[in-house]
């Protein structure tokens, strides 16, 4: 929206001079977005450009940076921890994103049928999103404890011996994916809003044609909310690739666990953080940041391309 305002031609489509009222609206628009643009330039674009420059330097945050050309990027290719951290992050994203979307959609479908009390439950589901990630991480360390955690106690009732979610390398990432489901409330609200926009007459027509519940969900609901699903897919993928808070709290940062780093929880941003603030390799950390930016860009472009076949935007097609 901001781009369209900034690039709007001074003349209308038929070459007429823009009326005075339009100019006033343009000024007002600049006024509204100006502060945001300043914030974006100073706090996002500026640091991004600075980090791009720093990625070609040897910089320890104390002394002035020294130009090292593409050495940091060359080092990335030979650093086994980069491959490890990227692998962990991608595996986690593959585990978390579809699971979170499915759980959120399931909850939204239930909420959509609740009726009068849906406002209350919407709030209840959203509340965990407000919990600080560090607190959630500390809480889930207890809930997921392999010996006495609540989750394994519940599994034991069903005759299942639960794994050591927080200490067994094979179960660390699934455990974290479960932890992150704590915050699906935001997605639930988005899906619920999308579900409420689906025209009732489509369901009625489908029912008249003999479509059952599953067929109505598959042929009516999913296409009609595909825009919301696609939006959350993009956002959650980026979120998963930037996993830090909970993993750092549970496996690296907390005082009691600070010496129990777990390679299985070495996510990309955690490694970046260690390089930047533990070892003061700011130049190398900047190169790591740009590699992640590139990876996220590629994944997002692929998702956008693929989505053209599956996502329905109202008014775009007949």
């Amino acid at each position: 929206m901001a781009i369209s305002i900034l690039t709007a031609p001074r003349r209308g489509a038929r070459g007429r001079v823009r009326p005075k009222r339009n100019r006033q609206e343009t000024r007002a628009a600049y006024g509204f977005i100006g502060l945001w643009i300043v914030g974006f330039v100073v706090f996002t674009l500026g640091p991004m450009i600075a980090s791009l420059v720093l990625s070609f330097t040897d910089y320890n945050a104390i002394d002035s940076p020294k130009n090292v050309g593409a050495e940091n990027y060359r080092q990335l290719l030979h650093d086994p921890k980069v491959a490890k951290a990227l692998g962990n992050t991608l595996i986690y994203a593959v585990m978390y994103v579809p699971t979170a979307m499915a759980v959120a959609l399931g909850l939204a479908l239930i909420l959509n049928r609740v009726g009068r009390a849906s406002g209350f439950f919407r709030t209840v589901f959203y509340l965990p999103v407000m919990t600080p990630p560090v607190a959630a991480g500390a809480l889930f360390l207890l809930l997921l404890n392999g010996q006495q955690g609540l989750l394994n106690r519940v599994l034991r009732l069903a005759g299942i011996v639960g794994p050591s979610w927080t200490t067994d390398t094979a179960w660390v990432k699934p455990g974290l994916a479960i932890t992150m489901l704590w915050g699906v409330g935001g997605m639930v609200v988005i899906y619920l809003a999308a579900l409420r926009q689906v025209p009732k007459d489509l369901y009625e027509a489908a029912a008249l044609d003999g479509a059952g519940a599953w067929m109505r969900f598959r042929r009516v609901t999913l296409p009609m909310i595909s825009g919301a699903l696609f939006f959350t897919l993009i956002v959650q993928t980026i979120y998963a690739l930037q996993m830090f808070d909970q993993a750092y709290t549970m496996f690296f940062g907390a005082q009691e666990n600070s010496t129990y780093s777990n390679d299985a929880a070495l996510f990309y941003i955690i490694y970046l953080f260690q390089e930047a603030f533990q070892f003061l390799h700011m130049g190398y950390a900047s190169a790591l940041a740009w590699l992640l930016f590139l990876i996220i860009m590629i994944i997002t472009v692929v998702q956008v391309r693929v989505s053209r076949r599956f996502v329905y935007y109202e008014g775009e097609r007949d």
Partner: protein, 451 residues
């Protein structure tokens, strides 16, 4: 009206400004001796990393305020945060003092984030001979002193007397002199049923206490010149042994998960609930236990090397002067007051008051100032409860023979390398020798880069 051109010019200006400020490094102020050569009895004094002071900390802060009433002390009460500290130094707005673990001093000294103190120490009249040599060595890099050491934490073995009796064992059976015998004792003390552990027999506390196991086997993780020695066969043997103790007791996953359930600071702690047989721990735990569960049967014994000689591993905190600190003279006065014998005695008096109020016993203060320790011990440490008394005596004794990891300019990288290696070995991702060889390679590269 904002024109497109004006907007672009303005944006470019802001961009250039932000990029320049981010790239510029510290520049400018180095907090050199000129302005800081004053008496340090006025102005403001800010700290980072001191945490929230307890009775001992508050008494010492009060002692400084009393000695320097015109210095405005501004305590940032969070624990040391590398990101916060570096951001402050890099932006040219550092605190006047930073309080950090002594094993971080080498790394920050090598990067120039903290200043050498030698000249200022002389000017402030600080007697470095008053500090324990081991602690002072930890903060000395390339012959220059970068910090004033404060606490002095040593390690000994704490034993659950009840578990020992249940297993029909004696204190001698949990000695670390005979590794085969210790293995068998750990197995006897260990309790589990249906895949659930109910008592850990002996916790070797790795990775954090690997330096102790390595020393017991005759090796140091870091050489005297600061270079890593992580793939020494004696270290690999020590790690292999520590892992075998854990494997004997359910394996790392279950062992760690069970240990995570302990209520270390509560009335239902691991001794009270009979969840541990014996483990290696720092002296502060005795103070916690005497308050939370004074009726437990606590026993203790020194950690010994394989020849039976008592050894201990020490670490602690230090006060350092950040690059660009604006009131260095006051900072040195703070270091002097906070670590002087008189101040420690005031702190001990405050702790004694707390002890009296709680009807508990004084379990000692362990500092890098041996004269203070001796006086405090003589004045306040009285016989009370046999088991606790022995533990306290053991911790005092271990201050005399404790060793520290040699300081290194790549200290932080070396520590991360060996801790990660032990964690990989614990979780079964690598064998101990492969893990330590990888650690040596990583640490060696880091050391070469800063040498």
């Amino acid at each position: 009206m904002i024109t497109r051109r004006g907007f672009l010019v303005g944006s470019a200006g802001v961009l250039a400004l932000s990029a320049a400020s981010a790239c510029g490094g510290v520049g400018g102020s180095t907090g050199g001796g000129g302005k800081g050569a004053g008496k340090g009895d006025a102005g403001s004094l800010s700290t980072q990393g001191f945490g929230k002071p307890d009775d001992v900390g508050q008494a010492r802060i009060d002692a400084f305020k009393s000695a320097y009433p015109n210095v405005r002390v501004n305590l940032n009460e969070g624990d040391f945060d590398a990101q916060q500290f570096l951001s402050a130094v890099a932006s040219g707005n550092p605190p006047d003092l930073v309080y950090l673990d002594r094993d971080l001093v080498g790394t920050y000294a090598a990067k120039g984030a903290i200043q050498p103190l030698d000249d200022r120490i002389a000017r402030a009249g600080i007697d470095t001979g008053a500090y324990r040599p081991t602690a002072l060595k930890e903060v000395t890099v390339d012959g220059k002193v970068y910090g004033i050491p404060e606490f002095y934490n040593t390690r000994n073995i704490l034993v659950n007397g009840k578990a020992l009796k249940d297993a029909g064992l004696s204190l001698a059976d949990v000695s670390t002199t005979d590794w085969n015998k210790l293995h068998s004792s750990a197995a006897k003390l260990y309790k589990a049923s249906g895949g659930k552990i109910s008592r850990i027999g002996f916790d070797p506390k790795v990775p954090e206490f690997l330096p102790l196991w390595a020393k017991a086997n005759g090796a140091d993780l870091v050489n005297a010149d600061g270079s890593p020695n992580l793939d020494d066969p004696k270290i690999i043997e020590a790690l292999t042994y520590a892992l075998s103790l854990i494997d004997e007791q359910g394996g790392w996953s279950k062992f760690k998960a069970f240990r995570d359930t302990w209520d270390l600071f509560g009335a239902g702690n691991e001794f009270k609930k009979d969840q541990v047989g014996a483990f290696i721990w720092e002296g502060w735990l005795v103070n916690v236990l005497v308050q939370s569960s004074p009726d437990i049967d606590l026993q203790s014994t020194p950690f010994t090397d394989r020849q039976g000689r008592p050894i201990s591993f020490e670490n602690g905190s230090a006060w350092c002067l950040p690059k660009g600190a604006k009131n260095p003279a006051a900072a040195l006065n703070w270091m002097k007051v906070m670590t002087s014998t008189d101040t420690w005695l005031k702190a001990a008096a405050a702790r004694e008051a707390t002890v009296q109020k709680n009807k508990s016993i004084f379990t000692g203060l362990f500092t890098a100032n041996p004269a203070a320790d001796q006086q405090i011990k003589a004045n306040y440490v009285k016989p009370g409860r046999t088991g606790f008394d022995t533990a306290i005596q053991n911790y005092y004794a271990s201050t005399e023979f404790a060793f520290a990891i040699a300081p290194s300019k790549a200290g932080n990288e070396i520590k991360t390398a060996w801790q990660d290696a032990v964690n990989r070995a614990l979780s079964g991702q690598q064998k101990p020798d492969a893990a330590m060889k990888q650690a040596q390679s990583e640490a060696g590269k880091a050391f070469s880069a800063v040498k």
